[in-house]
Symmetry: C5
């Protein structure tokens, strides 16, 4: 997640540098053709690029909307994970017997591990890294056998609760009630995987780029009588504005790519870790995630 | 689902070729009339086509929005199917007795078959093809008697769980709890059928095409003094931009048509297949779906 | 529901013919005033109608959006009715004893009757017509006493299930579970009634028409120097585009009016009829609804 | 709720008369300054007001959207109240014993009273008026002690159901099941109170008015060469269009103000009254609400 | 929450004063350059800033939409807190035995304290201030040990209900039923924390400011022939309109910052306090929150 300040200009410019280069080349080419001979370039009424610019704003606005919605939905999914993780622990404390402290701790730790692991898995990192202290040796082996690691941990928690039921520590109503919380967690996992695995209609982006270049070319021809020392910067800044917004939307639409604009899943998992440990009454809790220079992951 | 790259230009152009041909004819006709005599063509202020172009952008934006929403809703429905399929298996393992491994396997396999079959049925393909290894002989005959094959499989799963209840292997609470998962699956099936069977208001599309052609004609007349070697390509690329976006929306709005822009239901069904088999502890799982050149189905 | 093709031009033009007539009169009047004397008409910069046209597009886009949402919500409600009707039957088969086949059939038939009746009632047709073969004599009399026929059928189903409970054929959990399905059906009915009974803010439509006429008048004055044989058709087609989209939105916003653009509730009810009869194991099912020339009701 | 026809022009004009007066004064002032001396007024390119007009359309569209959403949400909340009121009665008939007819009637009447009372309370009218025939003497006194009358009635219904449970007429499952319906009613009440008590960001409206006046002033200066007998009406009708839409949005956003554009809560409460009495098997039901000249409350 | 009237101009201007200063400097600089020599400034067609202005309106509209949605979602979350707090009390009265009045009062008071505390915590104020009279000494110490104070209170309520269950005062169904209400409260808390902790994509705002300045500069150059006594105020008011709307959106998007535009969480908590005490039958209730000059917190 990008923080509210200190975003370096460099970060912004890097992502659009190739597009700006092309815009620069187009402007220089138009200038060259104009200098050489007016004959090569027709009259282009300014209305054409201006109308294209308005069209681009409208189409960008659609893209920005949908990308923002994906990002916000991803954030909501992780918000639901926070809520259900905390609820799960409070529910266990509320419904399990006094002697089940150890089981509660085991399930709670597995739940913390699930959060870290899901975050890493979505980002394409090794989902079993850094959770060794939260899982037993046995659990780690079982999880290792699965392709979908977080799903395996969820199954382990379901089976652990089942074991309680078989030892008659909980009744069927409690079992059903807790299972609903597990189902919600399974849903959240699936939703995050869906956002991560579904490509935003890619042709739309290509058409948008196509129209932005069309805009740059027509505008460049329209302004052929304007001095180049003024025209070229103008073209660059207007194109820059469009490309920056498009890029910003492009980054938002895939919120689990290990990029500064990601949903901050690691920081959220640490918050869950802290909350759950405090609910368990533990004194030692991890430190809250510290932001990097201008973002937090 | 279209992948993020390698989309061939040909794929894009093919879908709009007839529209572009008409645009070309309109341009040539205007040129011919202009050459022959200015008398046949009135003065057309450029503001008219420019305003029409802005109107088109706004109307296209509405269309793009709704089409995208249909596509995204379809994707969400299949996301819910993934979640509920996995949850169903974990729930059975959690609530059924130790001796019911065979029943769990049978229901789980039927659930996998349901996913494949629903995907094929939505796409208008034979819904009973390729699921022979997942259903018993008897099941296949029963399913064959139904018009709606996936609904029949859902009923079989409900009856199988009912049989468990009648043998007193599960109690009524568990029965109710599992039934809720089946109801959610039934809902998802109905939602996908709804999106598939409901035609996007077709007059809207016709009006949009009508306005785009109006735009092309008026713009063509407005620009009658511009050189044809420049005007005709300009008309073509602007019209191309509009038609491409309209076509892209048109494809999104019907996401189960066996087209490259479909929701990738086969790939999703394979993922469910893999996940469920791993939850069952099976070693042999199918291979994940491999994308074709530029899309995955 | 309008089909994807074969929509006759006549159907489209009929709905906007009065508006087009007014536009024609306005154009002729302007022409007459121009011919007689330029003194009567001021100079009108083209920017004024062009800006109004853009404003109209934006306001139309809002209207189109909300109307589409109403129509789509109506379709979703009927999708939920499909799902819950099918679920209800599967649930009865899953939870009722072997000897209750007759009760299941009776409730299932009443549910089919409810679907037909609700559809007719929403469209303002006689809601008790054509369901005689699905209800007992007694039921028909009871329903006849009520103003809200579908609500009466819902009550009958609730009481029938209650009777089962009182005969101890089902337990309270099953009773509660089935009641939830009835509550969802009651909700769907209420939602459809809400959409049907709530008038879309009617002043908005009047203001929109007002601005469209303002646009036509100002555009007509602006173009007073353009040849009438060209100007009048131009005014007509642009106004036609606006009025057609407005009309199309107007039709969508009330999806239960027995019009070609309706949600196809009869066809949906027939689908439910077929599905339920197949779930009951019946051989004879009604035929799927056949579309009329260009729509299906 | 405004009906579809017969809306008097006077109703529409009354709400914008002050704004139109100001527009008239601005036009006259510009005319006066123009007549006296051109020196006092600069050249104002028409593009400036035209661009402002487009901006206003876009901002109005946002406002219209959000206001409509509030109104529609309010309508949905009352739709849910209809559904849950009917469901509550059917549930009581379904789950209570034969001897509880009197209790059912008492709770059902209280529920009807709750609907009337909530509607009046939202509109700032005396919430205890006109429900004397529906509540016992005792109930009325209890309700009188509370600041939030509808909440008090909800509590009374909850306690009445509780009493049934304590007399062992219903079991805990039924109790929980009915309580869920009460919770939904409590939610609906809270949602209506939320919409009623939350002020739409008021600065936005002020900024919008500010820009509309800016538009009027700049347009008035731009058109200084147009004849006043033509310019002033033109300014008035365009400003009228903007102000009417803004006003219409303003009215929608607060749907419980005892205004013609309100959600018709009284009419809805009467419908609930009729439906519930018919479900109770009563012969005498109130008459459906009759619309006033052009609206129904 | 800003009230509907009396918003001082000063409040509005303060927030945009730096931006207006920059706009003023830009205008003066252009004027200076124009006076000195026309050579330094190129011809800038008015279409360029006009098109930028339209683009800004569209992009602002997106921002306004999303910010409003965040604010409205925050308000909905607090509406749900109102509903669930009231439901919790009614449920306890409905399901607990006669002798549990004291337990009900204790949990209800803790719930009130939770509301106040959550509101203060979201605003970054001391979350344990001003709730001493609602919590026991013991509770306060326990809460003090936690980093997340409201979560600790929720846990205490869960454990108190659990104690009832262990003393067999309530059965497992009631326990599960009440726990669902606690889970909803936990969800609402998490949702408010999510809105509070998630930064609206900050690059978007920077790009918007960038384009507004680009607009100001180009418009200023375009209007170089207009008299400065007229041009500079014009630039200022147009820029003012944009910046005011942007600022208004900026304030809405973070609704828990102890600012006049906040969601009025303190006033809502007081309403809950009054409602709950009346449900408990207490005579003495706090006074409703009084608005400050132009807002209520």
């Amino acid at each position: 997640m990008l923080l509210d300040k200190n975003i370096p200009i460099r970060y912004i410019l890097t992502s659009v540098k190739y597009d700006l280069l092309i815009v620069l080349l187009v402007s220089l080419l138009t200038y060259y053709l104009t200098e050489k001979s007016h004959r090569y370039l027709p009259e282009m009424p300014l209305s054409i690029p201006v109308f294209l610019g308005t069209a681009i704003s409208i189409l960008l606005s659609f893209k920005m909307n949908q990308s923002y919605d994906r990002w916000w939905e991803a954030r909501k999914v992780w918000g639901a994970i926070v809520n259900d993780s905390r609820s799960l622990v409070i529910q266990m404390q509320s419904f399990f017997g006094q002697d089940e402290r150890e089981v509660i701790r085991r399930i709670a730790y597995r739940q913390i591990a699930w959060c870290y692991s899901l975050g890493r898995s979505l980002r394409g990192l090794n989902p079993q890294e850094g959770i060794g202290h939260l899982l037993s040796e046995e659990d780690q082996q079982e999880v290792g056998r699965h392709l979908n690691k977080p799903l395996a941990m969820l199954q382990l928690n379901a089976l652990e609760i089942r074991a309680l039921r078989q030892r008659d520590e909980i009744d069927v109503f409690t079992h059903v009630h807790l299972d609903k919380t597990l189902v919600r967690l399974c849903d959240s996992m699936g939703k995050a995987e869906r956002i991560n695995g579904t490509i935003f209609p890619s042709t739309y982006r290509q058409f948008l780029h196509f129209i932005i270049y069309l805009f740059v070319v027509t505008l460049s021809i329209s302004l052929q009588d304007v001095e180049p020392y003024f025209k070229i910067p103008l073209l660059l800044v207007i194109a820059l504005a469009f490309f920056m917004i498009e890029k910003s939307a492009y980054h938002l639409q895939d919120p689990f790519r290990n990029r500064p604009s990601d949903v901050s899943v690691t920081a959220i998992a640490i918050t869950i870790d802290i909350n759950i440990r405090q609910l368990l009454g533990e004194q030692k809790v991890p430190e809250a995630a510290q932001p990097s220079a201008f973002y937090i992951l």
